[in-house]
Amino acid sequence: MRKGTLRQILLITDGCSNHGEDPIAMAALAKEQGITINVIGVLDQDIIDENGLREIEGIALSGGGVSQVVYAKQLSQTVQMVTRKAMTQTLQGVVNQELKQILGSHASFEDLPPEKRSEVMEVVEELGETVNLEVLILVDTSGSMKTKLPTVKEALFDLSLSLNARLGNNRFSIFVFPGKRGDADKVLDWTPKLEAISTVFPKLTSGGITPTGPAIREALHHFNKKRSLRSLLSDDDPYIEESM
């Protein structure tokens, strides 16, 4: 199998969108483009709005990813867990596709006897360790999320610590929404290190609206822009080049 790049959007939010396109539709669009969306809902107290919860689960489901609702305190552990879990899930999807080609359309991971599953799992783990990963982090800075930003920052540091221990390469980019003018602002362009965030986070201001759908659209645009730019510049895999 050729070693590819996994693409993920990690959405960190604390509530419901109230502006622009339906984020669930945007998530479906992402999935069609091979980009997985994971969502982490950050809680203050026990209460979470039913609609917010449904939206969080809906985005992850339609974006082919994983969702989790947590208290701010557990954010670090959750961010890395969700990212890893989604990677495994995606890779398993890829492996399942291959299995179907070999074993027929009915075969999937769960249908295999445990012994065979063991072998497949070893391949999935091997891939998870070595595959290249691009994560675009989309942070909701509207309303009450503002007070949770220091925790978000710490969780992202922690994420890079976990992912950079892998053998594969990583790239991170950060967008916040709502943006100063548009729906979302890029605060960090693609970089292998998330350390740079300490300088961008304190400067953020928060707005009133929560345009989750349009922000996802912006994020997808950023993924695509990069790819077309790269294909203009060179034919070979830009990944290998830049990570040398």
């Binding site: 689960e57 063991s118 221990a165 892998r166």
Partner: protein, 314 residues
């Protein structure tokens, strides 16, 4: 606790029979042994006796753990984890879905912290020596345990012996640690990477010793290295092991054997110091006793003399 939005496995009541879809073995649930991020572990009655059975709706997590246990069984001569007995699927009647489970040896015993609480702090270093011995073998076989913490240590047997359970974090050397718990994770404390290398586990061993003396644990507060040092120095038990603990925290041990050797040395030092103190006390009391005897004798002789004089006068 994490709030599980969807995947919630409800607890199976005692008496439920779990029957494997592939291998057709049956297990009768006795009680729950514990619950973690990756599923629930039950005590169950199998065909040949009591077993531990782990159920999860995350079949890849189950298979991943099974793979580790299977590899462990290939390491000759030592039990690095519970012995693997069976792997299978089961149609869960309460959630109407097929879930995965595996069956392993039931390790009867007590978790590390309750054992220490009952039997006393002097056991901490002894059990850590046993653990370091096992880690040395595990590392030599090409693995790093990863999620090392008191909850994953069971003290078992009439001669207390520490055993490792929950291989969910066990990772091939050189890869990224699969699963960890913040307090025992050197990444959290800013003391190193999350690469699976022996020094990652040895950091956790030091934190287990600290946890044994600070049962409530604590959170990082900036300048983490200083914070950990202060925690060690302000506890009389940990202070004795300052040298070895600090070295482990700073990642200066490349092998469990090195740490074990240093720990043994400190145990002897501290116990010989204690021993001396006891001896001193004994000598002291012996001296006191002799002094008392002499005084008694003098008084007795004096008294006899007075009696004698008195008799003479009469």
């Amino acid at each position: 606790m994490m709030i599980h939005t969807s995947k919630n496995l409800c607890k199976l009541p005692a008496g439920t029979v779990v029957k494997g879809k592939w291998h057709r073995h049956s297990y009768k649930i006795v009680k729950s042994l514990g619950q973690g991020a990756n599923g629930v572990v039950y005590l169950a009655q199998g065909g040949t006796g009591l077993v531990a059975l782990k159920i999860s709706d995350n079949s890849s997590a189950i298979i991943s753990e099974v793979n580790v246990l299977r590899r462990f069984s290939e390491v000759q001569g030592v039990a690095l984890g519970p012995c693997l007995l069976d792997v299978d699927d089961w149609f869960h009647p309460y959630i109407n879905r097929t879930v995965s489970f595996y069956v392993m040896e039931y390790i009867k015993g007590e978790d590390f912290l309750s054992f220490i609480h009952k039997k006393g702090k002097e056991w901490i270093a002894i059990l850590m020596l046993q653990l370091l011995g096992d880690l040395e073998k595990l590392h030599a076989a090409g693995w790093v345990f990863g999620d090392l913490k008191p909850e994953n240590l069971i003290v078992s047997g009439s001669v207390p012996r520490v055993r490792l359970v929950d291989v969910g974090g066990t990772t091939l050397r050189g890869r990224a640690i699969k699963e960890f718990t913040e307090f025992f994770d050197r990444g959290y404390w800013g003391m190193g990477s999350r690469k699976a290398e022996p020094s990652y586990d040895l950091f956790a061993v030091a934190m287990i010793m600290i946890n044994a003396c600070y049962p409530n644990r604590f959170e990082k507060k900036g300048n983490e290295k200083e914070q950990l040092r202060a925690a060690i120095l302000s506890n009389s038990y940990l202070k004795k092991y300052e040298k070895v603990l600090l070295r482990a925290i700073e990642g200066q041990y490349d092998a469990a054997d090195e740490m074990k050797k240093d720990l043994i040395q400190l145990i002897h030092q501290s116990s010989s110091r204690q021993g001396k103190r006891v001896e001193n006390k004994q000598k002291h009391s012996r001296k006191k006793k002799r002094l008392l005897e002499t005084a008694f004798l003098v008084i007795f002789v004096l008294f006899a003399y007075i009696l004698y004089l008195y008799a003479q006068i009469l």
